[in-house]
Subunit: 249 residues, 2 copies
């Protein structure tokens, strides 16, 4: 079904797809209202609507990376005709959250199965960066030794903890991209916890490829330190693009 379906055809087509676990794509003139964690309304215009087999509903305008309206996986969508429009009512019952897509006209409808068993493989996350630093702690600082037990105990709260060459406790916060004031505050929280545990001095090091000026100001204010390190493999990539830019320019 890919011509200009009537709203009745549309209703039957979408209901059929939902009941058989097929995905739906349609281009239509519609209005959208949402209420739940906030409240929104979108006046009439032409958009793309996707309904996935997991219940996800996404409404895309002509521009922008993000959907203008959406409902997350496990949403239940029901269809009804009212005032000459086809209304998609998408609900998450428990959360008391709903979206209504009122369709006045559809220019196309497609339904289909997607066969896909692959998952994204991603490299360059903060976790990867931490792994690199654990493999070579001297990247943080010469003489730095990781405290493995400690790291396990507070896993999820602090990226790396250890001691420097003098045996002084060090909390390390790792950021894969430019450090912000937010990151500094986070490190300070960790350091404060360690300072309560030990009477002696405690150092805090923020490891990041770069930092904003406000972040640096805060670091000084809190008596914390910055160590500039680029995530390794990404650094190689950056060198290449820098080089080609140099050659071109």
């Amino acid at each position: 079904m890919a011509g200009k379906p009537s709203l009745e055809d549309l209703k039957a087509g979408i209901e059929g797809a939902i009941s058989t676990g097929r995905a739906v794509f349609l281009v239509c003139a519609c209005r959208v209202d949402y209420e739940g964690r906030a409240r929104s309304s979108l006046g009439p215009g032409e958009r793309m609507v996707i309904i996935k087999e997991d219940g996800t509903v996404i409404v895309h305008q002509k521009s922008g990376r993000n959907p203008v309206n959406w409902m997350p996986p496990r949403t239940k969508t029901e269809l009804s005709m009212a005032d000459g429009e086809l209304c998609l009512t998408c609900r998450k019952h428990r959360e008391g959250e709903w979206m209504k897509v009122r369709i006045s006209q559809a220019s196309s409808l497609q339904t289909f199965y997607l066969e896909d068993f692959e998952r994204l493989e991603l490299y360059g996350t903060e976790k990867d960066f931490v792994k690199e630093l654990i493999d070579d702690p001297s990247l943080i600082e010469k003489g730095f030794r990781m405290n493995k037990n400690e790291r396990l105990m507070v896993a999820g709260r602090i990226d790396i903890s250890g001691v420097d060459a003098d045996g002084t406790p060090v909390a390390v916060e790792v950021k894969r991209s430019r450090a912000t004031p937010h990151d500094v505050v986070q490190l300070k929280r960790y350091v404060d916890v360690l300072r309560k545990r030990s009477d002696g001095p405690v150092r805090g090091i923020l490891v990041a490829p770069s930092s904003s000026s406000k972040a640096r100001r805060l670091l000084v204010e809190y008596g914390l330190e910055l160590k500039r390190v680029h995530p390794l493999k990404l650094e190689r990539k950056r060198s290449q693009s820098d080089l080609s830019r140099f050659v071109e320019g």
Copy 2:
């Protein structure tokens, strides 16, 4: 074009759409690679691909609210045939960022123009919440008075500042949803700034609909306060009283 196009047809169809500012939707078997801020690869499978007129490219798997791969607005997409596949090369030159979608087979292609002049109207943001509190400061606390000049001076850093019924300075941090430990730390930063300015006591109030237990523990530890207020309910209540005022008056 909505049957099963050949890859050559696909190439011509997509190129035509891009050059004339139409959007593209296709269902295809493909692999995807990305490199830029990180690096990723996605093995073969069937996905949906959207190309918008602003250059946005989105690849959706069968499940999940978010695209598995994407490129942001202003991306340039070029097409080429290689090894019996149609390759979409999507680049942001300055950022040295690229995504390649290698298509082995397409089951449908649609191109279309979307006419849409509407923008989303959204209610219930933090900004809206702050506005409500400014309109009725007694929601924060009986006798609370806002310091308007102060608020302008430090705009962007503190949500609301003022004095309580006793004239004691108060910093107010507003959260539209459940308050977290980080929110408490942020409020403490503001309070510390005010404490440097005045020798007397300074209060800090976190206004939020709810708070996590750890956040409450931190509030106690820092000597700060929590005021529970629901933003959306507030708005509903206001609409009602506006209405009744209209009916009565």
